[in-house]
């Protein structure tokens, strides 16, 4: 488990803390490379593969944030369910032939990149410049505490989420149904 107090001295490369740091750098690289593939590749199948790689990296980051339960749910829900659903939609709906003639302006790519870079840079500068308050922890955030709070404090939201999921399933079935021509 990761120590909760910040380290003051730089760890040696092959100590335990150093190897944890290396694994963290690998997870960052996996996340960013996966996200880059997901948002910039030409073919949608490759984009979904990049999305899966990115989600695995994000699950590793959740593990570093003391939440192995959320990391497991990330792999289960995103990599297991959402990515498979998107892959099925691509196989069902995406024609593989690429359109040669594009009617969009050639400025869309650079302008979009500039907008995204402005947003990401602005958020980063905001995060670095702000002094975030640190408060004392009142519990340890374990899976047991998550379960207790889900069924006591957050029980209303829990029920609402289940209703939303039920409606989403029914709605997806109704919308995607092939209507018979009369």
């Amino acid at each position: 488990m990761i120590s909760s107090t910040p380290l003051t001295t730089a760890p040696a490369l092959f100590s335990v803390d150093g190897l944890v740091g290396i694994i963290f750098l690998v997870m960052i690289a996996v996340t960013i490379i996966g996200g880059f593939i997901a948002c910039s590749s030409e073919r949608l199948v490759r984009a979904v593969a990049g999305l899966i790689v990115c989600f695995v990296g994000v699950a590793g980051l959740y593990y570093f944030l003391n939440s192995p339960f959320v990391a497991m749910m990330q792999v289960l829900i995103y990599v297991g369910a959402v990515a498979v659903t998107i892959s099925f939609a691509i196989m069902l709906a995406a024609p593989e032939e690429q359109k040669e003639i594009s009617t969009s302006s050639p400025l869309v790519g650079p302008l979009g990149f500039a907008t995204a870079a402005l947003i990401a840079g602005g958020f980063s500068i905001l995060a670095i410049k702000t002094e975030w308050p640190v408060m004392a922890k009142i519990n340890d955030g374990s899976v047991k505490k998550i379960g207790i709070q889900l069924l006591t404090d957050f029980s209303m939201v829990f029920e609402l989420i289940s209703i939303v999921l039920l409606i989403a399933i029914i709605g997806a079935l109704v919308i995607a149904r092939v209507r018979r021509e009369n």
């Binding site: 740091g21 999305l51 003391n66 998107i86 069902l92 990401a120 958020f123 989420i161 399933i169 709605g171």
Partner: protein, 108 residues
């Protein structure tokens, strides 16, 4: 502050979340197909979730709330993906295309 102790720093997670958010914005702006936009929207949600989890770990007094919020984001993302993809399939049946430039019947 060494590069190997970055995992004990709030800012590294916040910057990573901002980068993922920027990638999602770029994907939504530059993609031409609906499925590509949906993939980029998942990147946006991943960036937001990383922010929630980072504040949950480093700054919040109760480290349960952020985890529960991230679980709710996952549930909403799953519902959004299911609805969005069924709409994409319905649009494909109707227009034989999932290109956002072809579905302009309601364009003013």
């Amino acid at each position: 502050m060494s590069v190997l102790t970055l995992y004990n720093d709030l800012n590294s997670f916040l910057i990573l979340g901002a980068i993922l958010f920027g990638m999602g914005v770029y994907g939504i702006v530059s993609r031409k197909t609906f499925i590509g936009m949906l993939i980029a929207a998942e990147l946006l949600l991943a960036g937001a979730s990383i922010n929630f989890m980072a504040f949950n770990r480093f700054s919040a007094p109760d480290p349960v709330v952020g985890q529960i919020f991230t679980l709710f984001i996952m549930a909403i993302a799953a519902a959004e993906a299911a609805i969005g993809l069924s709409i994409v399939i319905a649009v494909y049946h109707h227009y034989k295309s999932i290109d956002a430039e072809d579905t302009v019947q309601l364009k003013g």
